[in-house]
Symmetry: C2
Subunit: 220 residues, 2 copies
DNA sequence: CAGTGTGAATTTCTTCACAGCG
DNA sequence: CGCTGTGAAGAAATTCACACTG
């Protein structure tokens, strides 16, 4: 259909979706690109280009239909179904993410956690069972898990990734500092707190430039 | 000195730094741009350009001196001193981040947490005191805090940001979904798990493209 | 006439390719 | 000879500006 939706565009879609949902909750039924862009932190022309690339079309003189925006963007992002995830690493961060409602609320229920420590394997954390690494195969099959979240110590993050990949998981969200080496058919995104702090540090030191979002696109 | 260090470059510096430190730990004393780029997930030419823009120069036929890399990049990022942070929101995520050693280890010790709930104010979480919002002023002055981390519910994130800004904090790391509105002299970076999952979801659904890093640059 | 949709201009970023240095 | 440093080409992303439509 589309020639392609660019990476830059994809990166902005979640912001558009959130903004549209928010405006919809305020009983608005349509928005101009100017308003929506403001809300999402982009330039109106960029927004129009982005939406056009998704084949989302507005009404001249009026704007974009909010319900349509929400449904189309959700569709493009593949959010019309639940995507159960498994969290590997039941330490502080993993536990926090499991307890944090954010995953389930947004269609990514935490099906299970995995850890190597015999002390936690077999227990439950916030109602989520903690399994041993050897259980992953069964888990993935039974629950149709497609996404893995890595919250182990950085030293074993690569192992965790290999484990996930070997069981067919093709989407990984990595919370460690380690840069993971995964096959090219696996999508891996990294959220590294140290990186964020360092970038923040740079901009504080120099005059503040305004890089509002999260950063670090890496190419191959 | 430099005409400017581009945003794209800044976003890659933490990866270069980490790679250099890692190679240094393996008793290597110099690296080629090819090797370092591989390690950091970029193209060698991009790496050379980036380093040149920091006035970091290598030796032809040999490569870059690793110690020099580490010291220069650290310097550019402003990592030669400690930057105490305050975490606003002592819920699950805030608590996890406080316990997680990652901040202190990397020069960003958590000086205090702030919460409104009388139940936690006055207690300590992992040795870190939890204060009331009204204590922020004193805290910022006494501890020279320049960075605030927001881990409140999204609904009050803007309030938290306003509070931090009003006390002179000019660097904010935001873990909520809310897009914060801050003065232009405040640097704000957002790490939103929902956003990351949605992007992951997109790439799983469509053929997998490889966007390896964290995403969503937003301009004004 | 308000606001989209988009050619064209512009800016920014990436990659090639190679001269030249250690 | 290996590898940097960089001019120049290329690709991608952003922004302008305006014709055009509901």
């Amino acid at each position: 259909m589309d020639p392609a939706i660019s990476d830059a565009t994809v990166g902005r879609l979640p912001a558009y979706l959130r903004a549209a949902i928010e405006l919809g909750a305020q009983r608005m039924s349509s928005v101009s690109s100017e308003r929506l862009a403001e809300e999402a932190g982009t330039h109106p022309a960029t927004l129009r280009r982005d939406l056009a690339s998704l084949d989302i079309t507005g009404t001249r003189g009026v704007g974009y239909d909010i319900n349509y925006l929400v449904s189309q963007i959700s569709h493009v992002l593949g959010l019309n179904q639940q995507w159960p995830v498994v969290i590997v690493g039941a330490g502080n961060l993993g536990t926090a993410l499991a307890n944090y409602g954010g995953f389930g609320e947004r269609g990514f229920p935490v099906a299970a956690m995995v850890d190597i420590s015999p002390e936690v394997v077999g227990t439950e954390i916030g109602g989520i069972p903690v399994l041993a690494p050897t259980d992953i195969g069964r888990l993935v099959e039974q629950e149709d898990i497609l996404v893995g979240v890595i919250t182990t110590p950085a030293t074993v993050a690569q192992e965790a990734a290999d484990l996930l990949v070997s069981h067919g998981i093709r989407s990984i969200l990595n919370f460690t500092t380690e840069l993971l080496d995964v096959p090219s058919d696996v999508t891996c995104r990294s959220v590294d707190i140290a990186t964020e702090l360092q970038i923040l540090s740079f901009y504080r030191q120099r005059g503040r430039a305004a890089r509002s979002g999260t950063g670090i696109p890496l190419s191959s």
